[in-house]
Each structure stands twice: as C-alpha cells, then as structure tokens.
C-alpha cells in the first residue's frame, strides 16, 4: 500500500473544510466541593438527571442528584486536575455508548471506549444506556431454546431465548464457567453474546477473553469491562452499557445472550456511590432503590413479537452468596428472574461438576423452551434424581435393602455420574438426547458407575464415526419419532455388545 502524501494532505484539507464549528455558547457551573469521586456543582440549572457533564480537565461526570442549590455529580474519570471553582460544562447528552456490529470481537469499558488496543470503534449508532423496558404488547412467549450445551441444565432447567435465568452460588462453584460454556456453545447458532464483567480482577477478565478467543467465540461476542480498579460509577454503569449494546442487535431482530458477572459486585458499587451521595442507607446499608437497580436492568431482557422484529435478549445474571446464605440482594434477584440455577460448594467439592443442585434449581419457562425429544427424554430424569436423593441416606445399609430400592439407588448414581461434564466441552442437543436416552432406558444398568463417563465418550465416538446420520436426523426433526427411536435402540444395542470395560 502506497501512501501518497498529496492524497493524505488532500483528505485532511477536505475534512477541515467540511467542518464548521458548532456551539459557542455553553451553560456552565462551578465546582464547589470534590471528594471521594463525588463533585458538587453549583449553577447549571438546566442539567437533566443522568446527563453527562464535562470538566475542565476533559473528565466526564454523570448527574445523579438534583438538589435545591447544587448538583451531585459522580465522576467517571480521574479527580486529578479538577479544582474548586473550576468550570463544568453541560453536554446536553445522556450517558450513551456506541453500538452496532463494530463492537463484535471488541473489549470495551463501561463508556464504550475500547480497551483492547485495537483502534477506535467505528460506528454511527449510539444509544443511551438507560432505557425503558419493552411494553407488554410487544412481547412474545419464550419458546425457542437457548442451548447451553450443559447436560444438567438443558435437561432439567432448560433456558429459552428471552428468559432471565439466575446463576447463584458461593465463590468458586463454577458460576462463570457455566456462562462461558454457554457462550462457547453459541457458535454457529446465530446468537450474539455480550459478557459484562463487573468489579472483577483485570487478570481474570484477560483470561476469559483469551478463552473466548481460543474457542473462536469472540467472532460473535463483545466484552464490556469495569474492573475492580475502575471507579464505582463505572462499575454501576457497565451492565446498562452492555444491555444498550445488546438492544441494538435486539431491534435488528437478532438473538442476543448477555451475561452479567456479577450483580453482587454491581450492588456493592451502587451502594458505595449512594452512600457518598448521602442517600439514606437501608437494609444491609444498600440504598432504598437497589431492587429497582436490578429489576430495570433485567426487564430489558425480552423476547419480541415478530411484528417488532422477533429478536430476543436472554440474560444470565450471576449472584455470589456468602456461605450459602441467601441474603438481601440474592432474594431480590431471585424474585426478578424466571428461575435460578443453584450451585453448591459441597457438590463441587465431591466431584459433581457442574455443581447444580437439581432440587433447588428451577426454570419457570421449563419445557416450553425445550425441543420435543429433550422434553420427552429428560422427563424421568428429574423424578429419578429426586427419588435417589430421598433414598441416598439409606445407601449405607447396602445389602439390607429390597431390590426396588437398590435399583433406584443404582440408577440415581448413574444419572448423577452422567450429568457430570468437564469445562469447555459443551455438547450438542442430539448428543445430549442420545446419552440421556441411554441412561433413562437403563442401557447403563450393568456398567460400573466409574466407567459411565468412559461409556459416554466411546458411544459418542462410535456414533460420530459410523452413525452420524442419527445426529442430523435429531437435529433437523427435533423430535424422537418412532423411526429415529428404533435406529437409536439398534445403535445402543450394537455399542453395548462391543463396549469393553
């Protein structure tokens, strides 16, 4: 590529001549107090709530408190250089972020500025981060599945496109892992993904971005980051910015998955900001509107009617509990979402990963968002697992039990074993259907529990190599017809004969 200096200077001349300076008159106020990231400004009588302001240093601030004789502004940049008596300008704009396809594959901060060193975001569309959720009439029932690729979830707590499903658990129980696996599984499924990291370590986010890149997921994802070192206002804004980015695609009729990791840190950042703004503290020192903080965010996850584009935003908020205690914020978010996936540290430590507690986890959309064959096949699983849990305490008695109880215990052990899944290995719906069919129809009855996963791996290899047509059939028909079921039984019998322990 040859750079002709005349061409460049001609372009610059043209750009300059196209330019005409706009406003010369600005409304200004003066800084009267500054501290802890909050600035009190006097004047600016026309400031709007949530409006963006500019300080002399170029730093931006957001108007949050409108009081009789001053405005409470939260700083979105650094305090350095802002002086008492300094000038503050109105920008006339609400806080907005750039949106559009230019954001795919990028890592941006809560203001939409790129932080991945790959140049500016070139886009013509911008959206305010705060927006009212879609009305009742514009919505449609959730009926299309969002495949997470995780057996335990897709069978027992299925998620649909447009649903909000909470992922809740103690620290280090695999919450983020479930969301990352779900994002990885959206490859080739026409779903765009947004991952919002709130208050996390920058190293953790870097690791996640690397994982997503390695699995080619960045080709359909965008990451919004507000790390622990970013100011509380930026951490507060990040989920809303992510949602605005998702809404642009929603209105184009696309399906979007958005992960908020995690909302507990979001609530903490909001609490810090509110206390500094001298808003009265409520329960656990959270401000009175902390429910509204999350409800207005999660209500923006929606499935739109075809008349409005037919797009959807599926939200997977994450909440971290302390020692399994469901306190104020977790209770709030549970009541907002359409179900929760409850992860337990005990299950995790005993090797059951994903550590999903099937008894406490629920999806209020449930079967409506499942393929017919998954619905049929996973019907018995929940029941058999529940029975197993009830009888598990009798397992210590071993041979003193009747045959029926022993059978149930053995079946429960195998189901538990089959629901284990390694990280970064999401399974397609047909694969899941096949192995769950095998388990619920007792094809694994005589396989020792510790060889069950080996059976699964070899079964998949066998089918992928010699009978892949059945995967296509299931994928296209989405139903377990008599014909497909017959073929499947034959395959399982054939495999069973040749399976060597």
């Amino acid at each position: 590529m040859e750079f002709k200096t005349e061409k460049i200077s001609e372009q610059i001349r043209k750009s300059i001549s196209d330019f005409s300076p706009k406003a010369h008159v600005f409304e200004v106020g003066t800084v009267i107090a500054l501290g802890d990231g909050i600035v009190r400004v006097s004047g600016l009588e026309n400031a709007m709530s949530g409006e963006l302001l500019e300080f002399e240093t170029g730093a931006l601030g957001m108007v949050l408190n409108l009081e009789e004789d001053n405005i409470g502004v939260v700083l979105l940049g650094h305090e350095d250089g802002i002086k008492e008596g300094g000038i503050v300008k109105l920008t006339g704009k609400m806080v907005e972020v750039p949106t559009g396809d230019a954001l795919i594959g990028r890592v941006v901060n809560a203001l939409g500025e790129p932080v991945d060193n790959r140049g500016p975001i070139r886009t013509n569309t911008r959206r305010p981060i705060e927006r009212e959720a879609s009305g009742v009439i514009t919505r449609k029932e959730v009926s299309v599945p969002l495949q997470t690729g995780i057996k335990a979830i897709d069978s027992m707590v299925p998620i649909g496109r447009g649903q909000r499903e909470l992922i809740i658990g103690d620290r280090q129980t695999g919450k983020t892992a479930i969301c990352i696996d779900t994002i990885i599984n959206q490859k080739g499924k026409d779903v765009l993904c947004v991952y919002v990291a709130i208050g996390q370590k920058a190293s953790t986010v870097a690791h996640i971005v690397k994982t997503l890149t390695d699995f080619d997921a960045m080709k359909y994802s965008c990451v919004v980051v507000a790390t622990a070192s970013d100011t509380a206002p930026l951490q507060y804004m990040a989920p809303y910015s992510g949602c605005a980015i998702a809404e642009e695609w929603l209105e184009q009729g696309k399906d979007v998955l958005i992960v908020y990791d995690d909302l507990s840190k979001h609530a903490v950042a909001y609490r810090a900001m509110s206390l500094l703004l001298k808003r009265p503290p409520g329960r656990e020192a959270y401000p009175g509107d902390v429910f509204y903080l999350h409800s207005r965010l999660l209500e923006r996850a929606v499935r739109l009617d075809d008349a409005y584009g037919g797009g959807s935003i599926t939200a997977l908020p994450i909440i971290e509990t302390q020692a399994g205690d469901i306190s104020y914020i977790p209770t709030n978010v549970i009541s907002i979402t359409d179900g929760q996936i409850y992860l337990e540290a005990e299950l995790f430590n005993s090797g059951i990963r994903p550590a999903i507690n099937a008894g406490l986890s629920v999806s209020r959309v449930g079967g409506t968002a499942q393929n017919k064959f998954m619905k049929k096949i996973s019907g018995p699983i929940r029941l058999e697992l529940a029975q197993y849990r009830e009888l598990a305490s009798f397992a210590q008695f071993g041979s003193d039990l009747d045959k029926d109880t022993l059978d149930r215990l053995e079946q429960g052990k195998r189901i538990t074993e089959i629901l284990k899944q390694p990280q970064y290995k999401p399974l397609s719906a047909p694969h899941q259907g096949i192995i769950l069919y095998a388990v619920t129809n007792k094809y694994l009855k005589d396989i020792p529990v510790d060889k069950v996963l080996q059976y699964e791996a070899q079964l998949f290899d066998f089918i992928d190599l010699e009978h892949s047509y059945i995967l296509e059939d299931l994928r296209l028909r989405k139903e377990l017809t008599e014909e497909i079921e017959q073929k499947l039984i034959e395959i399982l019998k054939e495999f069973g004969k040749n399976f060597i322990i």
Binding site: F19, H24, S42, K89
Partner: protein, 87 residues
C-alpha cells in the same frame, strides 16, 4: 454564588491580546442590553487562547476563541464523520 446580587452581575472577559478601554465599554454595554442587568467587567489576558474572545457571565460561557475552534476541529477529525477513511 455571589455572581448575581440583585440586578448587578459580574462578567469575566478573557482575550489573547489586551483590548482597549473603548472596546471594553462596548462589550459591557452589549452585555447589559442582553442581560438587562448592570454588569461589572473583569478583563483578563490569556495568550493561550490565540485569538478571539471568551466571556463568562451568569452561568454561561460564550467562547469564540481560536483555541476553542481548534479543540472542536480536533474532536471532529477524530470522530467518524471527519475521519480519514481508507488511510
């Protein structure tokens, strides 16, 4: 703030080069006409403005300086509209 007490207000006029007393009075009269108040002028010099005039009065900034125009131009060139596509 003690800028406007009754119908008297304080205005800052900042220029790159010193302006004559005549010009200062002209500005004072214009401001008094527009604001309908009597104006106390404070004239300051700031070479970094390069040229033009900046008036700060009553919560308003009227900025017609070359420095401001250059700042706006810079923002424009960095933005999408003014960006030099293809280079």
């Amino acid at each position: 703030m003690a800028e406007t007490v009754g119908s008297v207000t304080h205005a800052k006029v900042i220029t790159a080069t010193i302006i004559s007393l005549d010009k200062q009075n002209e500005i004072k009269e214009q401001l008094e006409k527009v604001l309908n108040k009597s104006v106390i002028l404070e004239v300051l010099e700031d070479k970094s403005l390069i040229g033009g005039l900046k008036i700060i009065v009553d919560g308003l900034v009227i900025d017609k300086t070359i420095k401001n125009d250059l700042e706006e131009l810079k923002k424009y060139l960095y933005s999408v509209e003014g960006d030099m596509n293809g280079i």
